[in-house]
């Protein structure tokens, strides 16, 4: 009984700790003149065309960044585990390196490169995908590594090869479906990181959601807080949706017996 009470108290404490700031943001963003409630700050999000553009850019960057890092990492990590196990530690070190380097240092290194990127690919904010792929590398690596460790990759790959599968078929029909949860986790971490990233975008002079929120905060605190809350809710919704999809698929798999 005492354990149960402690559990509930801990849950309550954490609930308050996480929910209180969100409630405060909701309260602040709905303040109207003379102590009334108003949705002006929220409606300001959709009426600000720059903000809408920034949201769209950030969402595209989140999707493109996640895809790029998955396309890079999944085949590489699979190949290393199957054929080049000696490279596993060096590659892990390389992939985890960005987490130890401050964003400002990364930007200093990337700025000259982005001069070339700008020259060859134009100044689209979507070119930030390359920088974001580097930033999310450590998180995606860890998630995918855990997924690959959870399956008998060597045996499954050999079984598929023996049955006539090309390496592409091994990846797409055997490896990817069996590390789906890890891929969802990696994607989610990538999306959350990209949606919240400010330093790199700001210093490279790209107009993303967080850059726009920062600018708005100087001009209209209410809209700024509303957008911040919206992006947090969006990330939560995404998390819920992705975990729901993963669970549903697992459930469907189990239910077919």
């Amino acid at each position: 009984m005492a354990v149960k009470v402690v559990r509930w108290l801990v849950l309550l404490a954490f609930g308050v700790f996480f929910l209180l700031p969100l409630l405060a943001m909701a309260e602040f963003s709905t303040r109207g003149a003379g102590g009334t409630r108003s949705l002006d700050s929220w409606s300001g999000i959709v009426t600000d065309p720059d903000l809408v553009d920034a949201i769209l850019v950030s969402v595209q960057l989140a999707v493109a960044g996640s895809l790029l890092v998955l396309v890079l990492l999944v085949p590489t990590m699979t190949w290393i585990r199957l054929r080049l196990p000696r490279l596993r530690r060096p590659v892990e070190f390389l992939c985890l390196l960005p987490i130890a380097i401050p964003a400002i240092v990364l930007v200093v290194g990337m700025a000259p490169l982005y001069a070339w990127v700008d020259y060859f690919l134009g100044g689209s904010p979507l070119t930030l995908t390359f920088a974001y792929a580097v930033l999310v590398l450590p998180f995606a690596y860890r998630a995918i590594d855990a997924g690959l460790s959870a399956i008998d990759l060597k045996t499954l790959a050999e079984a598929a090869r023996g049955l006539g599968a090309s390496w592409a078929a091994v990846l797409l029909r055997v490896v990817v479906p069996n590390i789906r949860t890890a891929l969802i986790g990696a994607s989610l971490l990538s999306v959350a990181l990209v949606l919240g990233e400010f330093t790199v975008a700001s210093l490279l002079n790209f107009d993303t959601l967080q850059v726009r929120v920062n600018l708005l905060g100087k001009r209209n605190a209410g809209v700024s807080i509303a957008v911040s809350l919206l992006s947090l809710l969006f990330a939560f919704a995404l998390l819920f949706l992705l975990s729901f999809v993963g669970e549903r698929r697992r459930g469907a798999a189990a239910g077919e017996g």
Binding site: D152, T155, E158, G162, G164, A165, V174, N178, A254, G257
Partner: protein, 346 residues
């Protein structure tokens, strides 16, 4: 020309030779087992045939065609692995259909599920199947691609004893029914002897002996084969003219021919080839000893007999119905069936 031919296969891992020139030929429809202890090279040989390892030297031929450099996915080899290898994201039926779909061949899943006795479990996922059922599905999946050769890499070793015996008989039935050339790797001698047309006993990357199960068991080509296949006694003796001497006991046998008189030898004999009788106490030149332990093994009871005048212990099998005649402490005289001895110089 054999259906599957391995010629001079060599493979080393980090300077350690796993295969040291393996030659093997399988006739069409034949089941050959490679038997040996861990590290003897049997799995390496199988993996080279499957295309999962590349040989340092030598060749693999099927129907006379050299497939040594052909990638694994183009070899048409059906393989059942030691580890459970079904694709977890697919049902049993989808696993079986996988290879045929890749080849764009007509679906035969139902027929194959029936063949392995799992017609009703096609919709189950691997985690909903027992170990034995999973290996049956793996067998059906390997057979589904109509392989040129079936490769079995210790497919029964993860199963419990009863399932293992049932499934090994099933494998033999299906292999015979389909006339499938099969290379079966195992470290379980009983398994190898029970299902094979021929058994190849391997040691240190080489075949020590390749013959029918009864010949391998009854006429082992070397001390290693004798000791690895079945239970044996190895008794230290001395070569003498026309036979061997063990302590005061002299045994006339042709098995010691070619060994210099006075040389130390090992006399290798199986427990079931030794006769036993209560010893009268008279010194008539028999090999005598005392029963020091009994192990009940079901139909037979194994007596441990310490030989007189030394510490050597010999195991002797007796029908369990007679075991009561030889309680622990009984003095016994042993009768070695000379024709079934193997004598090797130490």
């Amino acid at each position: 020309m054999g259906h599957l031919e391995l010629r001079g296969l060599r493979k080393s891992f980090g300077g350690q030779a796993a295969l040291a020139g393996l030659d093997l030929e399988l006739a069409r429809g034949e089941l050959v087992s490679l038997l040996g202890p861990s590290g003897c090279g049997k799995t390496t040989a199988l993996r080279i045939v499957a295309g999962f390892e590349t040989a340092d030297a030598g060749s693999v031929r099927v129907d006379g065609h050299d497939i040594t450099g052909v990638p694994a996915n183009k070899r048409d080899m059906g393989m059942v692995f030691q580890a459970y290898s079904l694709f977890p994201n697919m049902t049993a039926a989808q696993n079986i259909a996988f290879g045929r779909k890749l080849r764009k061949k007509a679906d035969r899943t139902g027929e194959l599920l029936e063949l392995v006795g799992l017609g009703h479990l096609g919709k189950r996922y691997p985690h909903q199947l027992s170990g034995g059922q999973q290996q049956r599905v793996a067998l059906a999946r390997a057979l589904a691609i109509e392989p040129r050769v079936l490769l079995l890499d210790e497919p029964l070793s993860a199963l419990d004893a009863k399932v293992r015996v049932n499934l090994r008989d099933e494998i033999r039935r299906i292999q015979t029914e389909l006339g499938m050339t099969t290379l079966f790797v195992t470290h379980d001698q009983e398994e190898a002897l029970a299902v094979s047309d021929r058994v190849g006993v391997m040691s240190h990357g080489r075949l020590e002996q390749l013959d029918t199960p009864s010949v391998v068991y009854r006429q082992p080509a070397s001390a290693f084969v004798a000791q690895f296949v079945g239970v044996t006694n190895t008794v230290l003796g001395t070569a003498v003219a026309g036979g061997v001497r063990i302590g005061a006991f002299r045994l006339a046998t042709a098995a010691a021919e070619g060994i210099a008189d006075g040389a130390d030898v090992h006399v290798i004999v199986r427990p079931e080839d030794i006769g036993v009788a209560q010893h009268s106490g008279q010194d008539n030149g028999a090999l005598v000893g005392t029963v020091v332990a009994q192990s009940f093994l079901g139909p037979v009871t194994r007596l441990s007999v310490r030989l007189a005048g030394g510490d050597q212990v010999v195991r002797v099998d007796q029908p369990s119905s007679r075991a009561g005649d030889f309680p622990v402490g009984t003095a016994v005289a042993l009768d070695l069936a000379a024709a079934r001895l193997l004598v090797v110089a130490v």
